[in-house]
Symmetry: C2
Subunit: 199 residues, 2 copies
């Protein structure tokens, strides 16, 4: 009964994460009623992005050029390489820290049951890069999950075998957290890994 094109739009919007039938409907009506220009612009940029954004040949992050802006930058420290699971993780580290080295984006984590092995994560590319000898420290910033830890373990071995020092992010009590509400695993880890208070 409704406009077929409108139904198509509602259906197409459901491809977005966390958007169900009701939100898609609300979005479609919002765009039609109040944001025609924004909608047109979104359609344009989206088509471009889907067609042009590929992976950086060097770090596997998203990039519209063969080499991403970061890998191509001459001002980054080529001796430090930080390995992350996703582009979102890279962005989080880039925004939160003063890290001036380079990144390598796995686009996933080791998960043999899902058929995700070293090849799928581009670890051959990483191994080759470590063998080039430019990288001195491999900062492993995978997520502190079971699969992330397994991946970290694998990466550390990969680095050591090539004479590169592997490090990983410190685990412990989050800043601003209250001990009472910190989960047991984290608290136990933070307690065991306590550090000297320096003067």
């Amino acid at each position: 009964m409704s406009t077929p094109l409108l139904e198509q739009l509602i259906d197409a919007l459901k491809v977005l994460p966390g958007v169900g039938a009701k939100s898609a409907q609300r979005m479609a009506y919002h765009l039609l009623e109040r944001q025609r220009d924004g909608g047109r612009r979104l359609a344009e940029v989206l088509a471009q992005a889907m067609a042009q954004i590929d992976h950086c040949q060097r770090c596997r992050d998203f990039s519209e050029t063969p080499l991403c802006a970061l890998c191509a930058s001459p001002s980054r420290d080529r001796h430090l390489l930080c390995v992350v699971e996703t582009p979102a993780d890279r962005l989080a580290i880039e925004q939160a820290t003063g890290f001036r080295g380079l990144y390598f984006v796995l686009q996933g984590r080791l998960s043999p049951l899902d058929g995700i092995g070293p090849r799928e994560l581009g670890l051959d590319l990483l191994a080759q890069r470590l063998e080039e000898g430019e990288v001195h420290e491999l900062i492993v910033a995978t997520n502190p999950t079971v699969e992330g830890e397994a991946t970290a373990h694998y990466l550390a071995q990969l680095a050591r075998a090539r004479g590169v020092r592997p490090t990983r992010l410190a685990h412990g009590v989050p800043l601003g957290g209250e001990l009472e509400y910190v989960d047991r695993g984290t608290l136990s880890h933070a307690f065991g890994g306590r550090v000297e208070i320096r003067e």
Copy 2:
């Protein structure tokens, strides 16, 4: 530092209602990582919808044709006309009830302070339609808000002046609601408007 096109995409996604910087980022990465085809399809349908969907000349609902499918349908009862504020309201009534009449979509409600008067809601079009004499009953289904009620009042006068019977949706305790938790206004209204229990 990030791909400019990716940043443009994240920015463009923020036009969607309820989508901020963080969600937009998550959506962009999701589309790039897992839903390229869906993203392409969305871009295509969105561009089409923004360009082609206009308002039905008769009911003001969204339509890609001059007359929407519903207004063009020969199987609907032309004596009943239901007035709603938005296309979403029309859809809700269409999905929930067995209503077989036609609709008129105001695309808003009377709100003099925002410069929304009878002309903006297409009430001249509605008045003209009521004068044609085909409509016998005008079902006013505006929202039970202050502005919606004012609009309903205006519409009822408009109908009466043209010999059309105005009706409105019943207000009362919602089905499945518990009296204890129903707001006072609704409860008082439902109590005052109590109806005979028929055998």
